[in-house]
Amino acid sequence: MDLGQFLSDANNLAWLIPVGPLLAFLVITLITNKATLVSADEGGHYADHNHPAYPGLKVPVVADWSRVASIVVGMSGVIAAWLISIAVVTNAAGVADFGKYVLESSVRWMDTGAGGFSMGVLVDPATVAMLIMVPLACTLIFIYSIGYMAHDPRQARFFSLIALFSGAMLTLVVADNLLLLFVGWEIMGLCSFMLIGFWFEKPSAYKAAVKAFTTTRVADVIMLLGIAYLYAVTGTLSFREIVYNVEVLEGLAELPAIIIPGLSAAGLIGICLIIGTIGKSAQFPLHVWLPDAMEGPTPVSAMIHAAAMVSAGIFALLRMFPLFEAGGHPHDGVYTPPLLLMAIAGSLTAIFAATIALAQNDVKKVLAYSTISQLGFMVAALGIGAFVAAFFHLLTHAFFKALLFMASGSVIHGMEHGEHHVHHHAHDDEDEHDHAHETPLLAAESHGHDAHDTASHDAHGHDAHGHGEHTAHAPHFDPQDMMNMGGLRKTMPVTFITFLIGGLSLAGFPLVTAGFWSKDEILLDAWYGVTNGYGPHALVFVLLAISAFLTAFYTMRQIGLTFMGEARTEEAKHANLGRGVVAFTMTLPLVVLAFFAIFAGFVGVHPDFPIFGSIFSPNGNPFFDFITTSLAVKPEKVGFYWVPVLTSFAVGLGGIGLGYLMYWRKPLVAGQEDPLVKILGTTLHTTLKNKYYFDELYTIIFILPAQWFSKNVAYEFLDKGVIDGTLHFTGRLFTWIGDFIKVMNAWLIDGFGDGLSEMIGRAGIWFRRMQSGSVQQYLLIVALAAIVIVIVFALSTGVLQAAP
């Protein structure tokens, strides 16, 4: 087909969006990812805590040209995706009555006896909203990775994987049917497996990778069943034909489901799909994988937690939302089972994860639990029918959470830098470096920095320290532990400011942050239900308000512990990003994201909000009006209430204020215990710190019994014992029968047949022996013969049978 002609049709352009990153993945994997073998014990760039050295082994280290080429290819791919996305969004803006009319294009993919499948792309308002966020976030993550992974011997592989990840996410975003969405969904699952286990030598990393994959896989298979059932019922998986089609939705809502009485087909399918999201977006009780996923390099965390994977779970819910709602009407207090499931699971997750986040000391783990909690906000919002608010929060959260993760990555990087400084450099050259720290971080590349940084990474290897579980030989130093930080605002000012902006947005600092506006929308929707006396609305309102308070508090705690006060360790005192390309690429994305963390909120301001409403939404809430145009059943607008707004103010400012008092006014000094321990009590604090012992619980009730069962019952007892045992018994039985027949054979048949000839032969030998000429022998034979004759005679005449 003529490509130019194909692409000149605006409907087809969206096909190209995932192509860039996918092509980049192929090119890097097949062509540019070339390693040179370096002897690990000779030093070089190779060894650090993520890449153990092996004496005598030559290890692959990505060649310099390969590193550069892979970065160039990866960047080109993702930037192409971004540019095409912009073009698609522009095209979409040009469509009259967009939403009712959309851009779509599909091809026949597979024929089966019963119908078949098409694959296609769909650009509707939901897609457009995602296309504004995802490619931008991906591009920034790529830029960040140039610096963050600059010294990793597998940087080329890293770029190929995040390119595949982006490609899969974009595929999912533009998919026009559930099957293609599922394909993107699973490939992301694979990429997260590969990226979490990127440093695959570390047991903690590969365990986390396997855990993430299998946990989400459980949910995915249930989702797949839901998809299969949906197809069996409707004969299609296309979004437009199912969720934007009132007749189909009504039909599904009225059709009784299989297996479970009292549930409609829509309800059963909905529950299956929601379980898929519970796995993907790490909702309770399948949340356990996400904190462990922090084992991956930090840009991966941003990718998983903000731009891609977990957002994908929410996006799938948003896509299928009309199906969940079918048969119910949350605006009037009529809930369907899927809605209730979301309301309960979401709000419980929100508060559950927020409490765990309180007691974490690892800078990334706090953010991980915060992510789980914020996703809970979105799921809960969907459960009460607040479709628009949930979508809004998804977008703002993506920006500020990507920002927070990358900023925390910078902190970790800075701490590692500082650690090297402490362990490696003699004190006499410290002045020089302190001097360097004062220079602006965004300064142009300076001479000597590279050498410094290279040396620093050497040092990591020799010190053999590590993250997380990695046990070190030398004094253990954890660059992610906030207790080791403090005072970083001085040495890392840009990171501090951007982190603060992201943190305030997450905390919902009133009026000026994006997080405030989206969270406020959710509370507004929930409060509307409270005024009408709807139970689930009330549950969501109360739990989310408390969670919002906790969120504000732990965010301030995190910032306080990291940046405020004085450095609690020597390492923290010397923590910085250095200068040059590394620092620049790690800082630029923070600045861009900080912008969105503030301003993204103004697209969805409630029109009746005092002052702000008349500035940003004079003609009604723009985000609301845009995103709902394609829905068959439009959600009702909720009026303006003061209670939720004041609640937002109160919990946001209250949490921030409390955190300020506890961790900013009186910053922790070295060796001091977290004041929270005293307030919560040791038992509660330890429980929270250990995440309510869910990992341990799952190990005891699922993993150990499964292992025991598979080994002892299934394999040893059933397979080797019963099945093979029966077989061997049968075999032995036949052997016995065979032996028996053989013996019988030997006696009767052989005995007769063979025996005859043998007897003749033997007789010959025997007779020959007889002619030995030995007189004694003759006598013996005669004697024997006489005895035999006597016996035979006796037997035949009955002499011996005289006795009764």
Binding site: A35, P52, Y54, L57, R108, W109, M110, D111, T112, G113, A114, G115, S118, F182, V183, E186, I187, L190, M194, G197, F200, E201, P203, Y206, A209, V210, F213, T214, R217, V218, V221, A228, Y229, Y231, A232, V233, T234, G235, T236, L237, E241, E247, G251, L252, L255, P256, I258, I259, A265, A706, Q707, S710, K711, A714, Y715, L718, D719, I723, L727, G731
Partner: protein, 522 residues
């Protein structure tokens, strides 16, 4: 049709025998010539089978490229071959896997150690001939002959070039399969004598027309007994739980190529037989027995997966995973929906590719370390990055990753069993559990070999992949991705035949209540 000279099917069938004859005249010492003659034969056969595919008319459900010679006309026995949607792709799979198997044997340590290289390749070609025969032959007696002939070369391949317990495994394999085929022989003799012909299409036509009938009134009436006679033979071959216990032993003891062929093709003879013979010849019995067989299949899925998880021997792990995967195929067949059976056919191909690939990988590791114990490995990704990457693709294909081939088969089978008239939805749900377990044991397999610290001295300087090793793995990876992304060319050939087959067996094919107007899906 019968007078147009040799059919392409006949040519493909007998080419391996031609190679076999040539090989006979090559002196034992000329190792190189022996290898390349065998490889050349299998490659030419593969190429011709592709030509056969190209000339295949997918829209026509009937047998094509038919060739028929009379042999014992008084009994209705004759040489009768042809291809349709059911067996065409199986023939291609056979020729493909055989080429892979032969090429992968080039450096096999065990052949150098035990010698008799020529004999090895003679058996390989004999096996290829017999397997193609099983797939293309349409006469029951000749089918039976080919079916039994496949045993002999496999028996010797395992028995001569196998592992330590090779004799036990070979005998177990032989006796087990033989026991099943005796029952089939009795059943097929009865069918043939009753029908007056052994030509399967004619028997099926007779059954359709009502001129031949085997009464079915109750689970153990004539048709049922005949059905079981065939079924048990096929079930042992597949193998269906609990008749699987020959498989792990045979796989573990067989040389690499033997395992690849066993998993890749030999097992499929059973599932192919079910589609080709059981469903159309005994439609009522098939429907009646379907729930029981599906139950065994589902047990096999879960059981195989679970036992696989417990294994420490790499080959055993893969062998039990086969039990699980083959359960899916049987479930798809006895769902008796066209999408389910099509799914089963493509899944036979997929399983051949992915499990064949897994055995190749295990074999390569074995060649280097002379152990199959998972505990002996760890961190191999670092020592052999290319093998690590390829293995990941194969592992993912085996566990049904979307975007790769395994997913296509599993998904269509799930769809098929969900929409089945003869099976309840419970089968689908439990089978889906197998997909979860597959992820667990396959990731366990991958992680224990390739991830973790490279801490064993012996693993640090493993030789790189040889050219022939790369040459066998690359097509497998390419096919896994190709079928995963574009399944249509691989599934379309079976479309028409399966459609007409299902129409013969069960006229109405859905139980799941459907929306009346919803199915506008083009």
């Amino acid at each position: 049709m019968e007078n147009t000279g040799l059919s392409l099917v006949t040519v493909v069938l007998f080419l391996p025998l031609v190679g076999f004859s040539i090989l006979l005249f090559i002196p034992d010492a000329q190792s190189r010539n022996i290898k390349y003659t065998a490889l050349g034969t299998s490659l030419v056969t593969f190429a011709l089978s592709l030509v056969m595919w190209a000339n295949f008319d997918a829209a026509n459900p009937a047998l094509q490229m038919v060739q028929r010679w009379e042999w014992l006309p008084q009994y209705g026995i004759g040489y009768y071959v042809g291809i349709d949607g059911l067996n065409m792709i199986m023939v291609v799979l056979t020729t493909f896997i055989m080429s892979i198997g032969i090429l992968s044997s080039f450096n096999a340590h065990v052949i150098q150690e035990r010698g008799r290289e020529k004999l090895y390749y003679l058996f390989m070609l004999l096996l290829q001939w017999a397997m193609i025969g099983v797939f293309v032959v349409q006469d029951l007696i000749i089918f039976y002959i080919f079916w039994e002939v496949t045993l002999v070369p496999m028996y010797f391949l395992v028995g001569i070039w196998g592992g330590e317990k090779r004799v036990y495994a070979a005998v177990k394999f032989f006796l087990y399969t033989m026991a099943g085929s005796i029952l089939m022989l009795l059943a097929l003799l009865y069918v043939g004598t009753q029908a007056g012909t052994f030509a399967v299409p004619e028997i099926i036509a007779g059954i359709q027309a009502g001129t031949i009938s085997f009464p079915l009134d109750g689970l153990f009436s004539t048709q049922s007994i005949l059905f079981l006679g065939f079924f048990i033979a096929f079930a042992i071959k597949v193998p269906i739980w609990p008749l699987h216990s020959w498989l792990p032993d045979a796989h573990v003891q067989a040389p690499t190529a033997g395992s690849v062929i066993l998993a890749g093709v030999l097992l499929k003879m059973g599932s192919y037989g079910m589609i080709r013979f059981l469903l159309p010849m005994f439609p009522e019995a098939s429907v009646a027995w379907a729930p029981i067989i599906a139950l065994l299949a589902v047990i096999g899925i879960i059981y195989g997966a679970w036992v696989s998880f417990a294994q420490t021997d790499m080959k055993k792990l893969v062998a039990y995973s086969s039990v699980s995967h083959m359960g899916f195929i049987v479930l798809g067949i006895f769902a008796m929906t066209s999408i389910g059976i099509q799914g089963s056919i493509i899944q036979m191909v997929n399983h051949g590719i992915s499990t064949g690939g897994l055995f190749l990988i295990v074999g390569m590791l074995y060649e280097r370390r002379h152990t199959k114990d998972l505990a002996a490995f760890g961190g191999i990704w670092k020592a052999m990055p290319l093998l690590g990457a390829i293995s990941l693709v194969v592992v993912l294909s085996s566990m049904g990753m979307p975007g790769l081939n395994g997913f296509i088969g599993e998904f269509t089978i799930l769809l098929g069993s969900m929409g089945s008239t003869v099976l309840g939805i419970g089968f689908t749900v439990v089978a889906a559990l197998g997909i979860i377990l597959a992820a667990i044991y396959m990731l366990n397999f991958f992680q224990r070999i390739f991830m973790g610290e490279l801490d064993k001295e012996e693993n640090k300087n493993l030789p790189k992949l040889e050219w022939n090793e790369i040459a066998v793995l690359v097509p497998i990876v390419v096919l896994a991705i190709w079928i995963g992304l574009q399944p249509a060319p691989f599934m379309n050939p079976s479309d028409a035949t399966v459609e007409s087959l299902v129409a013969q067996v069960v006229p109405d094919t859905t139980t799941v209540a459907q929306l009346p107007e919803a199915g506008q899906g083009e």
